[in-house]
Amino acid sequence: MNAKAQKIHAASIDPAYYQAVTEAIRLEAVKLLKDETVVAVVGYLPGRRRGTASPALVTTAEQAAQLIFSPACANNLSVYLTKAKKGVLKKGRVAIVAKGCDMRALAGLIGESQIKREDLHIIGVACAGVYGFDADRSQPVSAANIARKCRECTVHLPEGADVTAGSLTELSGLTPVEAQELARIEAMTPTERWAFWKAHFSRCIRCMACRQVCPFCYCEQCLCDKNRPQAVESSPRPAGNTAWHLVRAMHLAGRCGGCAECERVCPMDIPLNLLNRRMAKELKELYDYEATMTPQEKGPLTQYKEDDDQSFIK
């Protein structure tokens, strides 16, 4: 399967590539279910409309033969393995289709002892990119409609998967829109930055989609839902919204795998991944920590060194 590494220019990501990946996933999933290595496969089935896909849990070989991988397969499926989605999975080993960015989430969850590696059979996907949330899905994925996170993807080829579908290694010729946006915001004065985030946070309707879709938001009782004492105001007003987004960013700092699902599902188009990326960058600079595809025992905020930087402390 992993015959030859390729380099694909973004202007022309061949739809046939996704077809090849689809075939590889089906082959593997059918085999796994037939010989009962796993009890279920978490993957994608075609959506009801053209150019869509929906997450699915398949338990039979017939269903497994319908699995797909297309540019519409943006969901990070690792969220279905967490205790936030309790009851989705039965006991037993489970196979999961994972892109590189999903692999980082899986590694994070393994590191936090939420799932066990031996309970998983990871079908890695060498991903050529998925559609952005507002993309024109009638066209094949290209520089015009690829997701922002995919433009700067460094994990096209998943490492540590049990089997890898596809062989793509890098995309080129994509502008790093998100990095540019981050640089633009960092260059602003604090007043301008506050105005920027205030405008974005004020639009938030507190649907909590960002929380529900996040593989790392698996707490059974969210701090932001508590009301005795209340840490974060629960009504969708600017004050509570700002508090919620700061708490969210803080709780994901050093854990976020960068799948940008929060940003994709946001109905108000709040650029949440900018906050995640800023925190990741800070923790990289301060503590040389990066989310990786291999599980790490401890995150940057659950460990310390005696000589950590304390220049900001009197």
């Binding site: 960092e186 969708p236 700061l246 905020l301 402390i313």
Partner: protein, 167 residues
């Protein structure tokens, strides 16, 4: 003997989150030693700096603090061995986050004050109070508290009329 009192135009509200083992004892020492420091500071005692959640700091700002001070034991002196080491990393990250959303970080001060450093406590509190006094009240979070968000702007005559008739 009291120092001469000066009337200021603006008295900032400073909230200090302190650990009970070091800084609280340090502040106590400053008090029993009759050292003078600004009465602007409101001290909140915690078991350890490791117990001080970034949410507390944010909430202090939301509820009207103009400056926040977080203070605990020097590294290596923690009563619970490593609480302040963990807190140090967490605060470094939280500082970066606040800076990124546009909060002036001069209003947020961290310090290590041991039980023997009454003088340092006075110095830290005085410095922060004077710094924040010079900066004036902190408007950002307080303004948010009083704002409501409308799903659409009141931008048509009909909406305007309906809106006015409510009040």
């Amino acid at each position: 003997m009291h120092a001469e009192t000066v009337q200021h135009d603006f008295e900032p509200k400073i909230v200090a989150f302190v650990c009970t083992w070091c800084t609280y004892a340090g502040a106590d020492l400053a008090g029993t030693s009759r050292m003078q420091y600004p009465a602007n500071v409101r001290v909140l005692k915690f078991p350890c700096t490791g117990r001080i959640d970034p949410v507390f700091i944010m909430r202090a700002f939301q509820k009207g603090a103009d400056g926040v001070l977080v203070s605990g034991c020097h590294p290596g002196d923690c009563h619970y061995m490593a609480g302040n080491f963990h807190a140090r990393r967490r605060f470094a990250a939280f500082r970066a986050l606040l800076g990124f959303v546009g909060v002036d970080l001069a209003r947020l001060q961290f310090s290590w004050v041991s039980a023997a450093e009454g003088g340092k406590w006075v110095e830290v509190v005085t410095d922060l109070t004077e710094k924040v006094r010079a900066m004036g009240p902190m408007p950002e979070f307080k303004e948010l508290e009083h704002e409501e968000q409308w799903s659409g702007a009141v931008n048509t005559p009909e909406l305007k009329e309906a809106y006015d008739s409510i009040n």
